[in-house]
């Protein structure tokens, strides 16, 4: 059988493109490894309340001591993935796609829904200036942003960040703020004129967290589970859309296969995939192939197909700094167990004179395992515990994102033994900018200092992009055209982060999804016109 479309991967872009095909009346085949949570246990109470009355070893540490991973092993994993319930997200990633990390942190997922199972839930539209290195304008993506907003259910607000985040059409009301965030926001409003004059703006994030019941899913309830459990009904992940499409029989989902490469017959493509259980190879035939395996895995499939073990493809990520904000009058205050684990407030630093725009996500430190913070404190054992108890309730953290840059790019190469080599120098951060950011937060009444700021290693933001860039007129291998079609590889399309050789200082997933849907629309149009031509 020759399928019209084969999609590789079920992450945000794979699912968004599938939705695009389905809405054009096409039933794609999705090839995926597709790991799912091993334990479907759902809690019905606040996680902190549960812990007061129950031994939480199995819940917090895990039978296989999963939560101790970052303590014991040299290769650290993203904090959210240390939960025993989240480990399916990265299950067998090192086996299926071994990577030699040389200064660049590589996180890959072969789960159904991909890394979005553990995402930060923020979804932003891109502005025209943020698409400047692509052949796109934000208006090209507008109908897809609107359609996806309706599909996902995004909370947000019309506020000072609207010029940076785009249209508020279809947004659900914003989520509430914790006490410290409320204070910070009211201080911003009081000093707004001065701050705006200095290019500083604050507002609510755009989150795929339901602020009210929507599309048969319940609204957010403060249960402290969002950093610990997957598939909470009020936090959107692509799995919801995928499961809906599977149930409606609008896509064919073939799991437990790992796509390795493709070959080409006269008028169709053959996708070669390994059965992960038996190790045997399978072939799937299609007219058009859509690669949505994620920036790193898609690049690997392309390099493997070409048997190219020398080319170094660029790879970008956002620079990330973690800025603690201390509110002294909150020392000794009761810990708010009902605050949200995602960002509550956003701050944008628009430094025109430096042509630089940063975005900060402001979060409560309500990660369920308090022991995670023990490692960050410099005191003796008991004193560290006292600080965890009395001092942490006085702290917010800002995840400060920097745009990607050529200066901070890494590279990726496939070795002939199948291992990926991913290299990056430590990112360079402008010290003057860091000082300015610290001064702004002090102006807002929160204590911080450049010396307290921690800079994450390249790759830690997990906003990988740019391996197979989309350009107006591709002239060389590993470039794609405006519709994601790979140079000299007709009918092979890339729809994921690989296409973007610049990522602004904000989560780009929503734009990647909208672009994947746009490309699906284009491919559908071509298929239809071909059929009409034949008829």
């Amino acid at each position: 059988m020759i399928y019209d479309i084969i999609i590789v991967g079920s992450g945000p872009t794979g699912v968004a493109s599938a939705l695009g095909f389905v809405e054009n009346g096409i039933r794609p085949l999705i090839l995926d490894v597709g790991y799912e949570p091993e334990n479907a246990e759902v809690m019905n109470e606040n996680l902190f309340d549960y812990r007061k009355n129950h031994n939480s070893f199995r819940l917090m540490i895990g039978e296989d001591y999963e939560a101790l991973h970052n303590l014991i092993y040299k290769k650290t994993i993203f904090p959210k993935l240390i939960s025993p319930y989240m480990r399916f997200v990265i299950r067998n990633a090192e086996k299926f796609s071994p990577a030699d990390e040389n200064g660049f942190m590589v996180i890959q997922s072969f789960a159904m829904g991909g890394l979005a199972n553990a995402w930060g839930a923020s979804l932003y539209r891109a502005m025209d200036d943020e698409l400047r290195y692509t052949p796109l304008k934000s208006s090209d993506l507008l109908p897809y942003y609107d359609r996806l907003t309706e599909e996902i259910g995004i909370s947000g607000d019309e506020d000072d960040l609207t010029p940076f985040y785009g249209s508020t059409k279809g947004l659900l009301p914003p989520l509430g703020l914790s006490k410290k965030c409320s204070i910070l926001y009211s201080r911003y409003k009081k000093k707004k004129r001065w701050l705006n004059d200095h290019g500083v703006y604050m507002g609510k994030p755009r989150l795929c967290v339901l602020s009210k019941d929507y599309d048969n899913r319940p609204g957010y309830r403060p249960d402290g589970l969002e950093s610990w459990f997957p598939h909470l009904p009020y936090v959107y992940t692509p799995v919801y859309t995928l499961q809906k499409l599977i149930k409606q029989d609008k896509v064919i989902y073939h799991k437990s296969v790992l796509v390795k490469f493709w070959t080409r017959e006269r008028d169709y493509l053959v996708v070669h995939a390994e059965d992960i259980n038996s190790g045997s190879m399978h072939k799937f035939q299609c007219k058009k192939l859509v690669l949505a395996g994620g920036t790193i895995n898609t690049a690997k499939i392309v390099l493997n197909t070409k048997k190219d073990f020398t080319t170094k493809l660029p790879i970008f990520d956002n620079g990330l700094a973690q800025v603690p904000l201390i509110f002294p009058f909150f020392i000794g205050r009761k810990f708010e167990t009902d605050t949200m684990g995602f960002e509550s407030l956003d701050i944008v630093f628009d430094f025109h004179d430096r042509n630089l725009r940063l975005k900060g996500s402001i979060l409560e430190l309500n990660f369920p395992l308090r022991s995670v913070f023990y490692d960050m404190l410099p005191f003796s054992g008991r004193t560290n515990l006292v600080f965890i108890k009395y001092f942490l309730p006085a702290v917010l953290v800002v995840l400060l994102y920097f745009p990607s840059s050529i200066e901070n790019a890494g590279y990726l190469r496939l070795r002939d033994n199948g291992t990926l080599e991913v290299y990056s120098q430590p990112y360079k951060f402008d010290k003057e900018v860091i000082k300015m950011v610290s001064r702004v937060f002090c102006k807002l009444g929160a204590l911080t200092h450049p010396l307290l700021i921690k800079f994450a290693q390249p790759g830690f933001a997990i906003h990988y992009a740019g391996t197979l860039p989309m350009v107006e007129n591709p002239v060389k291998d590993y470039q794609c055209n405006k519709f994601g079609e790979l140079y000299k590889e007709p009918n092979v399309y890339v729809v994921d982060g690989s296409l973007f050789s610049y990522i602004p200082a904000k989560n780009f997933s929503f734009t990647l999804m909208a672009n994947a849907m746009r490309i699906a629309d284009h491919i559908s149009g071509m298929l239809k016109s071909n059929e009409e031509g034949i008829n």
Partner: protein
């Protein structure tokens, strides 16, 4: 295979480390969990590091002081790691919940506790450095 003392060694270290952090006797469940993970991680360290660790567990009474000094002096990495592991394991017990999560609103209590703890940590650091030097750890 690295040389351990015996099964009692694990039990002894669990007792001493738990006591150093929480100032109470180690519950049986934590002791079992600690022993299992200890057996796994010991293979990550060389025999010299294990030897010094064993010496510190057997000979030093104030492990809290020793650990904080070791951290600053970049010594006894196994002790530092086992302290961290015990902090994680200890957090899973409901009776330890109030040691991690502040359930009462009191700026004064919080401030005094932090101030006292800072003085205490300074004392422990100095004591620990002396212990490391005297015992050649």
């Amino acid at each position: 295979m690295l040389a351990r003392f015996d099964k009692n060694m694990y039990e002894s270290e669990a007792e001493k480390i738990y006591k150093a952090i929480f100032d109470t006797e180690v519950p049986e469940s934590i002791q079992k969990q600690f022993n299992i993970i200890s057996e796994r991680i010991d293979f990550l360290f060389n025999s010299e590091e294990i030897k010094k660790y064993n010496k510190s567990i057997l000979q030093i009474h104030d492990l809290e002081a020793l650990e904080v000094a070791a951290r600053y002096m970049k010594k006894l990495p196994l002790l530092t790691l086992k302290f961290k592991i015990m902090v994680y394991l200890g957090e899973t017990l409901p009776e330890n919940y109030p040691k991690y999560i502040n359930e009462n609103d009191s700026f004064f209590t919080g401030f005094i506790s932090l101030f006292y703890s800072l003085i205490r940590t300074s004392y422990k650091l100095v004591k620990g450095i002396i212990l490391i030097v005297i015992n050649r750890l």
